[in-house]
Symmetry: C2
Subunit: 559 residues, 2 copies
């Protein structure tokens, strides 16, 4: 590490192997890899179809405590663990999400991992990559154009133009587009109405792409999107607009997982990237199920902390895709424990064992929650140079009281050599046969009861409050046949409660439902408990002002 000053320098110095070589290790022939440059490739649909009868490898989820400004390093640990498993002789690969383009022009772009545990090519993964998000943007906006076009030409479906719920999307932080009036300019341009743009990762098409098993399932889910309502409140579907076929054509390449590599030349699928609040926040089902056929160990992650990310991974993705995780890793840091214990960011460098102990309550709650899904747990302490021996020991001691082990990991500085212990522990858990995965609630439970179950069991809330209109809406969806859907909670990621400032492990708090939304194509009911921003803005001095190509043709300012 000493000779590097940043993640991008490490990434640039990576000795990447040709992507065909990475694919060959997984048994993918060159003709089954669709290359995008020399270091990225999509896996062909034909190849994936031919793997269906193979045995699945072990599935390992990496999740985390509630995020703090100190940073936990969930993706870094996912990458590190993948490399670590390969190092100890397991055939392992990782599955993570793609980055969104828009936010890179606001704040600095996100690396996929960090230090010596990264996925490359980092710059391209933060730009157009293999074009998946552009395809999603196109498919989404084709449907939008076809809806307005349908109304323009006579509105045979009798859409109530005040109740068009399908907006448009752009992969850009552009607050000007949040709330707009379209169809101005007179007769030739249509009937004016108010609508807006969301950022592409917030599109239901993104969530659908990430949950669909194959192109047939993709088209069926796209067709089931509710795009508008009539005056009698009956829904109008995407298939009524006849957009589902063309959208599927636009998405056919985007459905194929993207193969890249870690700094240690181990295989990684980077595919899909739904929001972790109004959507489920995991990489695609196609990537995960394909990886399970190709590797003995698949390490994946879920967005935000375990209260949101792991819960949705289990209750939405695993439930719907028939996945059975074999073990879970909860990432924590001494620094984050201290912040949860009340220490300010500037004081994190000072030893404070008491604060570490106090902050462990947050970690403990997550450990117990994940166990409720029948999945064995290990805690990964992602090491920072400022951590003291005594602080680390305090975390280990606390976790031991829960009947769980906490393992110190130094993959950020050392790569796979620093995470061998965790890799061995994960193998032990996964091969113990202890996993008895089951979702938190059955499909048949009433929608409101599902919400209450998540709130009490996972958040330890005292009550769920919802106005009559919301309860009526949930009941109406049950009558329309949507009662079997799982719940997708949109809650602050910073706390178990709906108050972002309430750290630790609060109990008996109130979860107020502000709004519910039906994602009929993705197949879940979104429950919104706070302000949800689906189109970010740029800061006063956006990073895009500094981004440029230098004289060597390298990208400056993106990281």
């Amino acid at each position: 590490m000493a000779k590097f000053t940043s993640d991008i320098e490490i990434a640039r110095a990576a000795r990447k192997k040709p992507i065909q070589e990475i694919g060959a290790r997984l048994g993918i022939a060159a003709e089954d890899l669709v290359p995008y440059g020399h270091d990225k490739a999509k896996v062909s649909a034909g190849f994936i179809a031919r793997q269906q009868d193979k045995k699945n490898g072990k599935l390992i989820l990496v999740t985390a405590i509630n995020p703090t400004p100190a940073g936990e390093g969930k993706t870094t640990t996912t990458v590190g663990l993948g490399d670590g498993l390969n190092r100890i002789g397991k055939k392992a690969m990782i599955c993570i999400r793609e980055a969104s383009l828009g936010p890179n022009f606001g704040m600095k772009g996100g690396a996929a991992g960090g230090g010596m545990a990264q996925v490359v090519p980092m710059d391209e993964m933060n730009l157009h990559f293999t074009g998946d998000f552009h395809a999603i943007t196109s498919a989404h906006n084709l449907l939008s154009a076809m809806i307005d076009n349908h109304i323009y030409w006579g509105n045979e479906l009798e859409i109530d133009s005040r109740r068009v719920v399908w907006r448009r999307v752009m992969d850009m932080n552009d607050r000007a587009l949040r709330d707009i009036v379209v169809n101005l300019g007179g007769v030739a341009n249509g009937f004016p109405r108010q609508t807006g743009f969301d950022i592409t990762v917030a599109s239901e098409v993104m969530a659908i792409l990430c949950l669909a098993r194959d192109l047939k399932d993709l088209q069926a889910r796209l067709g089931a999107i509710v795009v508008a309502y009539r005056r009698d409140k009956s829904p109008v579907y995407c298939r009524d607009i006849k957009a589902d076929g063309a959208m599927t054509v636009l998405l056919k390449d985007a459905m194929q997982p993207n193969l890249v590599q870690t700094l240690e030349n181990n295989p990684a699928f980077v595919h899909g990237g739904p929001f972790a609040n109004i959507a489920h926040g995991c990489n695609s089902v196609v990537a995960t199920t394909t990886a399970l056929k190709l590797a003995d160990y698949v390490v994946t992650e879920a967005g935000f902390g375990a209260d949101l990310g792991a819960e949705k991974f289990f209750d939405i993705k695993c439930r719907k895709a028939g996945l059975k995780p074999d073990a879970a890793v909860i990432v924590a840091t001494v620094r984050a424990m201290k912040m949860n214990g009340g220490v300010k960011k500037d004081d994190l460098g000072t030893e404070n064992i008491e604060a570490v102990r106090k902050g462990c309550a947050n970690l403990g709650r997550h450990v117990q929650n994940v166990k409720k899904f029948g999945v064995p747990v290990v805690v990964a302490i992602n090491h920072f140079v400022s951590d003291t021996e005594a602080e680390i020991q305090a975390v280990k001691d606390y976790v031991a009281t829960l009947g769980t082990e906490a393992v110190l990991c130094k993959h950020w500085a050392q790569g796979s050599a620093g995470i061998e212990d965790l890799a061995h522990k994960v193998v032990e858990l996964a091969e113990s046969g202890h996993a008895q995965f089951a979702p938190l609630y059955p499909d048949s439970m009433k929608l409101l009861e599902k919400i209450e179950t998540i709130a009490t069991e996972i958040y330890h809330a005292g009550e769920v409050v919802a106005e009559k209109s919301i309860r009526d809406q949930l009941r109406q969806w049950e009558e329309q046949g949507y009662g079997e859907l799982p719940i997708c909670m949109a809650k602050t990621q910073y706390s178990f409660s709906t108050d972002p400032n309430l750290r630790g492990a609060p109990t008996d708090h109130t979860v107020q439902i502000r709004e519910v939304r039906l994602s009929a194509g993705a197949g879940f009911v979104v429950v919104i408990t706070g302000e949800i921003m689906t189109m970010p803005g740029l800061p006063k001095t956006p990073s895009s002002e500094k981004i440029r190509l230098n004289d060597q043709g390298e990208i400056e300012g993106l990281f």
Copy 2:
């Protein structure tokens, strides 16, 4: 041909060679090709830079008479001629434009060529291809977002928000977005103002990408875009917004030409696709200049008929890129001659020599116009099965009176075997050394005089009419240093005049200037003489309703 019923069937049956093999014939090593799948690749910037000292091949422009509903087959002839030149032993390649995604969902998608003279992979070229247009969309809209963000955070540049001329773009036919109000929703979302979206091909970024010599030139041109004006009418540039660096980063891959192949496995660059009315309508300068280093013959085309396409190719692209065309092919058909001679579309199947003769006036005007640029001309009669011997002879006889030869071409049915005569004729013209290319007017001529020169010399108009405000605007731009720019005429493509119904070779008509626009980054002044639609709409039954994947995973309904 007999066993095929459509272009797409022929394209699907193509025996494509791996793109590395196509590249190798041009001397491009596999590591200098950036593959996108197995049949498309971008040529690396490093390779292109290393070719600069090589000698240029011959440049052949394919242009046409004013388009008629009968269809002329300009691209088909471009592709056929490229194959024909290869067949007679010349090392030839073609350079054509990329297709826009949006219009494919309205009417059927466009093949690149037709019959046995096509470029493949046709389906992908009509979808996302290598992502160039998505990159242009992103770069354009990043600038848009940064402009509104600048105003939002205090408007240090004192932009008059009523005079923001930079709109947004989407590669979609979406009339609802033509005229919109943005920034609604209160304090957090900005200052409401009226604006709109154009289709991506109408973006000045597209024109810039197609005229820039390299990434440095690209950034300089992007920086020079005028995005808004202040209250005192002084311009605000893209570089003032500091978006030019990040836009260049977004466009760095899109700047590289895309290599594909014809049905006969000959190399083709398909790169860039600016509008042919408000922009210059040619493929990229980078593609053409690179092709000239790699092949002995480069066949390229320009949008619309020769009055618009060839004039802009010569006066904008060749002037600015220092290109010197060696010969021009003007494509005509017997059917189009008949339509120009007054025959209705339904009657085109009946022999009518008199109408052919009458319609030849349009062709004759184009032949004489192209010669004014000092470029030797040959006419290609693109053969249709309904053409009679006598009709073909009538065209040949007419063209001979102009001191020019007309050659019958059967490439649509026979591929390169059907176009050998034209290939030989083109070689004869190009190697004669007769070409004495010069633009129509000098840089130093006043802007209005340039417009008048085009109108009288090319359109044979009697006068140019412009209101005082337009004359004042042109003078103001001259004072601001834009007087050296060439003119980009936006006129109907169906007539030499501004009246689309006036076929043949009208004289003494009036060209009324409705509007002038400054494309300071692209480097031309747009002169608008009619209604220009920069955001198309979808028809009542858009083709997207029929587009889908069939059970074989093939795309249906796109063609």
